[in-house]
Amino acid sequence: MNYQEQLYLLESQADMLPDGEARLALLEQAIRLADSHNEQIDSFELREKLIDAASAAGNPMKMLVAFSWCLSHVDQHPHLFEPTRMLWPYKWVVDDIDSFSQMSRALIEQMMDDMKRRYEEQGLSLRPYYRHLHAQAMHAGQQDDCETLYRLWLAAPVDDFSDCTACERAHQVEYMVWLQEDERAVALAEPILNGQLSCSTVPHNTYHHLLIALVRLGRIEEAIDLQRRGYAKIENELSFLDGIANHIRFLTLLDPERAKELFEKHLDHAMTSAHQRNQFYFFLAGWLLFERLRRQGELSDHLQSLIAKTRSLADAFDRRNGNDYHASLIESTLALLDSFLSPLD
């Protein structure tokens, strides 16, 4: 088989597969083949494909490596590539960069500056830049920054590099839930819930974000409905591990047996995930689940290791961020058992 045939075989096999590690492995192999034949264009385009696939498979590490290569390649070959070529996937990269607890604040800031500079140089709106700064502030529990950035994000003009209306709305809903502005969150979610706004990740995220808001509002029936519909949408999607965590957290309160099924089903993926933020939420939800069962007298081997894993991730994030937000998240999550369980039981 010559180079073209081998490459075609690998790529077409990859195209047949759904997102996941198997697809990534085939693409990586195709990239190694192209690299070893010094086929620059193939190397570039296959990496672009890998960036998509890694994003969909919830693997920020592989995405970041391929992205680094492509971005530098665009810089080194300005006659071959549009300077905006990598600016769309840049959004996915900055969306995940803070999920590596080992990544220092300084490096994250440098990356955000680099993104900003590139958007400005191309005359693009900084809307995505502010949106992601806002998300990073939210992930790090920096509420004051969030308020400023939320304003800057929504005030920035919309252009071709902005997220779609559905995605933006879904992020607003997520933020309102985070602020515990539950009524507003549900109202903002209305066009998403009735199908007017949708895209490849909406309504998936909104369904699981709203679960806790509806619980706090006492609208349990609606939450149960959203849980069932929402889980079906992300059950086999690897990039929604944080969503799975939200489903487990919700089910822990209402149907711990079902929560256990979900936990067992997604545990392997969570253990091997390179996405530490999602891992943290998953382990924390698992902790909540087995803590609830422990209080009912059901002991599990999982509990101790989940506590250790959750704590170690929380420590790593808090150390990096210089606050105790993740530690407080652990507390407020476990407190759900006291505040919601007794009235519901």
């Binding site: 195209d15 047949m16 597969l17 759904p18 997102d19 996941g20 590690e21 198997a22 697809r23 492995a25 085939l26 990586e28 192999q29 990239i31 190694r32 083949l33 690299d35 070893s36 590490m61 592989k62 970041l64 490596v65 391929a66 680094s68 290569w69 971005l71 530098s72 390649h73 810089d75 960069i97 590596f100 080992q102 990544m103 220092s104 490096l107 440098q110 990356m111 680099d114 009735n194 199908g195 007017q196 309504p203 409905d225 069932r228 519909r229 079906a232 949408k233 086999n236 390179a274």
Partner: protein, 602 residues
């Protein structure tokens, strides 16, 4: 004095709205026919509500005028509109969410005002003549895209119903051609229960005279399978291999699933033709069957599901979830039936659609038990079914990635060891579930580094003779995070085998990217490799003592030559495993080649 508040109404620029709509709400101009058929159907249904014995029909006429324009007349003998209704239905466009809630419970599928807007996409003017069954007067309504309309009462005798005249816009003539109109109406309304006639002045035909076989009562027992497949061929242009009846009480759904004659991609969603009360809703409905059903193409009619505003899919609600489950069960029951009663057909199906079945078996115990033995896997001994694998092995070995499999498939094959490539989608998951169903088997995940451990060791005497060589090799390989080994294995012609773990392969790619990227990203990647990096050495070069060249090389007393040879063998082994070279390894290759040439010229 307080000023009186007044309510004013917004003026809407219809032309602008039409442009917005044609680019947004409607996927293609041809849907104007769908909207006309929907409105006509609603009108006839409304009349039947008044008079249950009424039968109703739709007639369409097309002709071209001398100036190149085409005209289409669309007529239904339904309930018709009164003057007041014309004002309400034809001049209020768009709907609020409140109205949509009302529509949920109604029996009607069209939305008159919005439907007519789609006609403005293909026609500059719409003329509508209508007479309500409740009135003796016929009304003529003339709508223009500037948002104005004229209305007048007509003299003379008109029978109840509605007639719509459209005149093709420049560039939209094709949508008025008789054959286009025929094909589209057949597609959109081929299942409607009343006749649709089409005429171009010379030829007239009923375009839905022949009903699809699966709409006939008790068709599963009466229809000839060949006729059903032929119907599928006409519809989708494919020679399907079989079909499965679909039925769900919930949502009042009936339909047919045709089994694709070729392998389908899991990634690309299969698109099904979905009808709502006999009218085609869309050819792109994705959410009505379960995800794993990518081996069928369906025609489905539902009388009780709610379409979204774009009318191209259904609201993702609890009812839809139940319909999806029922339809999934129809497909599943068919597969179970084949496994129990029709093995030849099952094998034919598996040969093409094993991926779908694997996807199902992963999540369904009964299907796992039924199908696992027929499913094909890639192994170091070629493609084998699980039954063949189980027959020959008590220990089921597999690699979890394609890459690992490629590293070892050649040597394991040479040693007639069966290793399954678990790198393909679902395969590892299926293998991991084996002991649950076949407790007598043990499953072992093979790591490429384990394989070399199973190779035959050298005798003590042999080992002593190669110690010096191994020391040299280790020194040469150490900067590359690789250690040297020597064992006896097949195939003979393989001088050395480079093996590494998946993680290490990935870290190699991180290092290579670091070399090529800008300083910011280099330091970002650096902090990643520090966090996740491997302990060196992460690779292993296992020389083959059986290989004649190696046998000679280890005995050579020229250490410098041995060193150079090891470098070259290392690079060759990397290239054979498709590991791209980093800068340092590239230099090895270049220098080594020159050195060998030099040696040869001495």
């Amino acid at each position: 004095m307080q000023q009186e508040e007044s309510n004013y109404r917004f003026q809407v620029n219809l032309q602008g709205m039409i442009e917005l709509l044609s680019g947004h709400l409607y996927s293609s101009p041809r849907v104007y026919l769908r909207e006309l058929l929907q409105n006509g159907t609603d009108a006839i249904r409304a009349r039947i509500q008044h008079d249950p014995d009424y039968e109703g029909q739709i007639s369409i006429e097309v002709f071209s005028s001398g100036d190149g324009h085409h005209t289409l007349i669309f007529e239904d003998d339904g309930i018709g509109l009164s003057e007041a209704e014309v004002h309400t239905f034809l001049s209020i466009i768009g709907e609020s969410s409140k109205r949509r809630a009302e529509m949920r419970d109604s029996d009607f599928i069209g939305r008159f005002g919005i439907g007519l807007l789609s006609c403005f996409v293909v026609s500059d003017e719409i003329v509508l003549i209508t007479r309500s069954i409740h009135s003796d007067v016929a009304i003529e309504w003339r709508g223009k895209p500037d948002g104005t309309y004229l209305l007048r009462r007509l003299e003379g005798e008109f029978s109840p119903g509605t007639r719509i005249y459209l005149r093709s816009k420049l560039g939209f003539e094709e949508y008025f051609e008789r054959t286009t109109v025929r094909d589209l109406c057949r597609q959109y309304g081929g299942m409607l229960p009343f006749p649709i006639s089409l005429s171009d002045g010379m030829k007239s035909e009923i375009i839905n005279a022949v009903k699809p076989p699966w709409l006939l009562p008790d068709w599963q027992h009466t229809a000839a399978p060949e006729a059903v497949l032929e119907h599928g061929r006409q519809l989708f242009g494919e020679n399907f291999i079989d079909y499965i009846p679909l039925r769900s009480e919930i949502g009042d759904v009936s339909g047919i699933a045709f089994i694709l004659p070729h392998r389908a991609s899991i990634a690309a969603k299969t698109q099904h033709q979905v009808y709502l009360k006999g009218m085609l809703l869309s050819e792109h409905v994705e959410n009505i069957l379960p995800d794993w059903a990518f081996f069928v193409k369906c025609m489905i009619n539902t009388n009780d599901l709610m379409p979204t505003a774009s009318r191209e899919e259904f609201y993702e609600d609890a009812k839809l979830a139940q319909v999806r489950e029922s339809l999934g069960n129809c497909l599943r029951d068919y597969l179970v039936y084949l496994a129990e009663h029709d093995l030849p057909r099952l094998h034919k199906l598996i040969a093409i659609h094993f991926l779908s079945i694997k996807a199902l078996a992963v999540q369904d115990d009964q299907l796992y038990r039924l199908f696992i033995k027929w499913l094909p896997f890639e192994t170091s001994q070629g493609r084998l079914t699980m039954e063949q694998i189980l027959e020959l092995n008590t220990e089921i070995r597999f690699t979890s990635s394609l890459d690992e499999f490629r590293q070892i498939s050649r040597v394991t094959a040479a040693q007639s060891m069966c290793v399954i490539n678990g790198g393909y989608v679902f395969d590892t998951e299926l293998i991991l579930r084996l002991p649950q169903f076949f407790p007598q088997y043990e499953i072992v995940r093979i790591n490429p580094l384990d394989i070399t451990e199973s190779f035959e060791e050298l005798t003590i005497a042999e080992l002593q003779s190669v110690l010096a060589f191994l020391r040299t090799a280790d020194l040469v390989l150490q900067p590359f995070g690789c250690k040297a080994e020597i064992k006896k294995y097949l195939p003979l012609e393989l001088p050395a085998l480079y093996s590494t773990s998946e993680e290490a392969t990935f870290m190699r790619s991180v290092e290579r990217t670091q070399e090529q990227t800008n300083p910011l990203f280099a330091s970002i990647l650096e902090s990643l490799s520090q966090a996740f990096g491997m302990q060196t050495p992460h690779g292993q070069l296992c020389f083959n003592y059986h290989n004649p060249v190696i046998a000679k090389l280890v005995r050579s007393d020229n250490t410098a030559l041995q060193g150079k040879a090891v470098e070259m063998i290392y690079v060759q082994a990397l290239l054979m495993g498709h590991h791209p070279l980093n800068q340092q390894e590239m230099r090895l290759l270049n220098n080594g080649l020159l050195h060998l040439i030099e040696l040869g010229m001495r």
